[in-house]
Amino acid sequence: MTLNMGPQHPSTHGVLRVVLELDGETVLKAKPIIGYLHTGMEKQAEYKTYTQSIPQTDRMDYLAPLSNNLAFCLAAEKLLDIEAPPRAQAVRVLMTELTRISAHCVWLGTHALDIGAMTVFFYTFREREKVLSLYDHICGARLTASYFRVGGLAMDLPKEGFLERCEKFVDEMPAHIDEYENLLTKNPIWLARTKEVAPLSARDALALGATGPTLRGSGVQWDLRKAQPYSGYESYDFDVPVGAHGDAFDRFQVRVREMRESTRIAKQAIARLREIGPGDYRVRDYKYVLPPKEEVKTSMEALIHHFKIVAHGFFPPVGEAYQAIEAPKGELGFYFVSDGTPRPWRMKVRSPSFVNLQTLSTMVEGRLVADVITAIGSLDIVLGEIDR
């Protein structure tokens, strides 16, 4: 029998369609069909300046907008050969780690909801809401933050109260993670639904290009924050959790432990921001970055630079660059080809969900239909990023 799962199915996390060939309850073949959310972002980027494309990136992985902003800005900075000042880098680390926590909260809530544990959803969304409110505090948007810019940040952190709020959140967070774990980690139903379900061997994971928690759940120690550090991650102290068997339970444990590690990193970033104190939040290279408003009012050159950048953007050199970061879902990278004009000649997005979803058929073939739900949930996909 052929069963069509999706594209309007609540547990496919968006408009994913999976065509299942079944023999009774056993899945013989699973074929994911994607593209329902395709909006041609790569094409549109060729018609926009680099800065204009940043809001587009929010809409790819809409659960982790700041990670997308960061990957985009780092790739453009690599092309321009500039580096954000230390304060901006610490803010980036702090915000992307909070993003990781909130993205994993959504993943955990929906994954548990799919399997039948409804309570977790309400707990995790409570914490996610706190992170969204922190986004609101820094830039006025809850979901589509667009807070990072090429060369630094869109604006400085709010003068008062923000770091204290962050600190309160990361101090409280480990206790909340304990709450989630109380509900799930030793829950016999949860164990029955996830242990030895949807297994992925390390060999298959590598061959299929899986990254992030999907790869680490299979026991491969690979985290771009450690292996190819960016934004000063080499100076933060944290561990990279890995699984052993590569089943859905291992991926669950890896992500939950990652949330704990993220609170550790965020704490260090807050301490670092206090240590640095007020300072530059953008590079002072006005060929690429808007000059501060005060200077625009007093300096002729700053006004010219302001006008040039607002009117047609910055001009990167002819060349190309690829930069990847460890997003909550895996390796998220942007590849730019520049022809020297303010618009990229080509922007290619290497989105982790797109690649990770390919492992689905390996995970579920020969297993039960109910395990497909677990497998999709444990992959942590976002269709906005897959279809772009």
């Binding site: 290009g209 292996a227 590849y335 080509r346």
Partner: protein
């Protein structure tokens, strides 16, 4: 971490494949180490890069097409390889001419190439020979044209789903042939 460098990779490749012309992409702002190689030796070189214990490029991070209209050869396909053991990225490129839009598929080397190659086919119409199922992936199956080519316009394509055409059997009519809508005015 091992001390494998890009220069060492290039040296190993030149030793292993003396007949193949590798060419390093030059340019002041080419930020990643990139090697051009001829299309016909692609699979061979990729298999070697994956299987050699020193190089060990076990993962294909991504691949994608680029359209360089009006340059000739017009297209390029970029392969971004990743060696986890050596912590090294390597970009390979092949040039593809418009008349001969064929590249051998690397699905047999890295199964992850499956969807990436379908995407490049979908966007640019590059045919990957040997691919098990080369069909569109992101666009609808009946889409005509290759949207990421530079001669494909951003907008003004026919509307795919419409309710206000007189002939509902044809979902995408030629808009020029449509008669203006008849409007009757009534005096009160």
């Amino acid at each position: 971490m091992s001390s494998l460098t890009h220069e060492r990779v290039e040296q190993r490749l030149r030793e292993q494949f003396p007949g193949v012309s590798f060419e390093r992409q030059a340019g002041p702002a080419v930020r990643d180490f990139t090697l051009y190689l001829p299309v016909d030796s692609l699979v061979e070189v990729c298999t070697f890069l994956r299987d050699d214990p020193e190089l060990d490029f076990a993962m294909l991070s991504w691949l994608g097409g680029v359209d360089y209209l009006p340059r000739d050869p017009r297209f390029e396909v970029v392969y971004s390889l990743l060696s986890l053991s050596a912590n090294l990225r390597l970009h390979l490129k092949v040039r593809v001419a418009d008349e001969q839009l064929r590249v051998p598929s690397v699905v047999r080397v890295w199964p992850t190439a499956d969807w990436h190659e379908r995407e490049a086919f979908d966007f640019y119409g590059i045919e990957f020979t040997g691919h098990p199922e080369l069909i569109r992936i992101l666009l609808p199956e009946d889409w005509v044209g290759w949207p990421l080519r530079k001669d494909s316009p951003l907008g003004y394509e026919e509307v795919a789903f419409t309710h206000n055409t007189p002939d509902r059997i044809k979902p995408s009519p030629d808009l020029k042939k449509l008669a203006p809508k008849k409007v009757t005015y009534r005096a009160h």
